[in-house]
């Protein structure tokens, strides 16, 4: 028998198909207004370049990857994706408040592992994802979602390989989650 999920312990989420429809509409609107899709990893890249510029400007200028984004009359943080990503944070905050998920600082993990293990995995995962996103020219939002929606070959490739890899290797890390 199906247990009603809306008891006090289980968080309330909107219907995923509704979320998907609204997200699809958002992609359409975004492309219609800006000519580009959504994104997320680009903001972190801007943060890296900005930090490097602030601490060691000469080094940032001479770095062949970062130098593409340095210089000019305004900070690398003054770009579309940074403001959009700020918005993602605030949108998440708004939703969290509305649905009662804004709580004290916590770590989410399987009960089978320690907090330390989870944080090490999160850090490692982030580092890998950061590296991968540069080769991939985007992450799941920019490359996979927006890229596929606009029929980009690269976008579809990223989507298939990213999730395909996830499926192929998930069994190795099952203990982190359940």
């Amino acid at each position: 028998m199906e247990i009603n999920n809306r008891d006090n312990n289980r968080p309330h989420y909107i219907n995923p198909y509704l979320g998907g429809v609204l997200l699809g509409l958002l992609v359409i609107i975004t492309v219609y207004i800006t000519g580009r899709g959504l994104g997320a990893s680009g903001a972190v890249k801007s943060a890296v370049v900005t930090t490097a510029e602030a601490i060691t400007p000469a080094h940032a200028e001479s770095n062949p990857y970062m130098s593409k984004f340095t210089g000019g009359d305004h900070s690398p943080m003054y770009n579309w994706l940074v403001f959009e990503s700020l918005g993602i944070f605030f949108g998440g905050l708004l939703s969290g408040i509305l649905f009662g998920r804004l709580k004290k600082i916590r770590i989410e993990k399987s009960p089978k592992i320690t907090n330390k293990t989870r944080l090490i995995a999160a850090l490692t995962g982030g580092i890998l994802f950061g590296i991968g996103s540069q080769f991939g020219r985007g992450c799941s939002s920019g490359a996979a979602l927006s890229g596929s929606s606009t029929f980009s070959l690269g976008g579809v490739i990223v989507m298939l390989v990213l999730f395909g890899t996830g499926y192929a290797i998930a069994w190795m890390f099952k203990k982190l989650w359940i």
Binding site: I28, A43, F90, L93, A122, I127, G132, L145, V158
Partner: protein, 200 residues
């Protein structure tokens, strides 16, 4: 006639306000769908929670069909929009690495921002990892610079490469999505029989 900003219908000064608003809506949709929880996200790989697949596939088919209709009605010039460029080999390699990062970290950049917003420390650590990873990439860039630019096919669409009109891809993707919705519903029911907690 869209796209509005590149066509000058909306001036560039509004750029960042629009970016912020779009981001807020994006973040709200992600969080309210359950993407602020790493255990919800990775559920797609273990079969106990397919929210990622449902939201993602629905969004793609809605966007694909919507963009085609916008083009058909003459509201949007699909030739003027940004198409993510294809660098075949580095993108495949990058996606494999991202796949590992996804399963280990339980997040991707966008979802980690929403999770930070509601207090998830593991999301914050993940984002710090993103920062470090991109920094490492930048510093070691000269070692694989040629590889990074290899396999360049241009800003090609599926139609450019196959000659098949975009509408057929939208159609095929819709069928695949609908089939996967049904199959994953069956899988989810079966997997959830054996565990007590599956929505976080």
């Amino acid at each position: 006639m869209g796209p509005l900003i590149p066509n000058g219908v909306i001036t560039g000064d509004w750029d960042f306000v629009i970016a912020l608003i779009i981001g807020i809506i994006f973040g709200f949709l992600l969080e309210s769908s359950g993407f602020s929880s790493s255990r919800n996200i990775v559920g797609v790989f273990y079969g106990y929670n397919f929210v990622v697949l449902r939201v993602f596939f629905t969004a793609v088919i809605v966007a694909m069909v919507g963009l085609l209709y916008f083009d058909y009605f003459g509201w949007l010039d699909l030739d003027k929009i940004f198409i993510l460029p294809t660098y075949l080999t580095p993108m495949i390699v990058g996606s494999v690495i991202m796949g590992f990062g996804f399963v280990l970290g339980g997040f991707c950049p966008g979802t980690s921002y929403t999770a930070i917003a509601i207090g998830k420390l593991d999301a914050l650590v993940f984002t710090v990892g993103l920062f470090i990873g991109i920094f490492i990439f930048s510093e070691t860039f000269p070692l694989f610079q040629d590889f990074y630019y290899s396999g360049y096919l241009g800003n090609v669409t599926l139609t450019d490469v196959t000659g098949i009109p975009a509408a057929w891809f939208a159609f095929a993707f819709t069928i695949i999505a609908l089939a996967s919705f049904w199959i994953t519903m069956v899988i989810e029911k079966r997997v959830r029989k054996n565990i007590t907690e599956y929505k976080f």
